[in-house]
């Protein structure tokens, strides 16, 4: 069941990457990168569970933090109130 979940998460990353490459406006690309950060964070948690390393949860936490800060900074810059 875990491996089916890994396949689903990989497909989700693939869809986000297609939107990231296609997106008509830069906000679409920004939204795709936000979604990509969340899904990748979940995937790192799953890998931590499979390898039984608790320390990888910290990697996931830092990844989510950096993704959030990057998305908010770029969105405020593109919105014109930098």
């Amino acid at each position: 069941m875990i491996y089916i979940s890994l396949v689903f998460l990989s497909l989700a990353i693939l869809f986000s990457l297609i939107r990231l490459l296609k997106g008509p406006t830069s906000f679409d690309r920004l939204l795709a990168s936000d979604t990509l950060a969340i899904i990748t964070s979940g995937l790192i948690v799953l890998v931590a569970y499979l390898l039984e390393r608790v320390i990888y949860m910290d990697v996931s936490l830092v990844y989510a933090l950096l993704g959030f800060v990057g998305v908010v900074v770029v969105a405020r810059f593109l919105g014109g109130d930098a």
Binding site: L31, I38, I39, G42, M57, G79
Partner: protein, 133 residues
């Protein structure tokens, strides 16, 4: 407890897949925002809670990660929506309500007109022509 955790992991990955499929299929940035942030938030929460239930050694840090995602994910989606509206990204033709325009006092048509005017002014050749005249 381990079976419950695995079921939650499967549900979370299905929701993440549906959210990513939504941002591929939806017609508009604002619709994509709904699919791409709400479904993915629920998916990530369910997946991380499932990992925490399946192995109790992960439970503390998974609760910390869940709190972090619950706090930050609505902020980033709301910031994307607000700055997209401020940058005058057009909505769909059959969009019903635009609360930002009602509050600020400009309609979508006025925003379109302003953007086309600004595109004219940004064109360097017309700007040079106007300066010469």
């Amino acid at each position: 407890m381990e079976l419950l955790g695995h079921i939650l992991i499967l549900i979370g990955s299905i929701f993440s897949l549906l959210g990513a499929f939504g941002i591929l299929r939806m017609p508009d940035i604002y619709n994509r925002l709904q699919a791409g942030t709400k479904a993915t938030t629920l998916g990530a929460l369910s997946l991380i809670l499932g990992v925490g239930l399946a192995n109790p050694a992960f439970l503390g840090k998974s609760i910390l990660l869940i709190l972090f995602i619950v706090l930050t994910n609505p902020i980033s989606s709301s910031t994307i929506a607000r700055s997209g509206r401020r940058a005058d990204i057009p909505m769909l033709k059959n969009a019903v309500v635009d609360a930002y325009a009602e509050k600020v006092g400009k309609t979508q048509a006025a925003a379109d007109k302003k953007r086309s005017n600004r595109a004219d002014a940004d064109d360097p050749q017309t700007a040079v022509k106007e300066a010469n005249v």
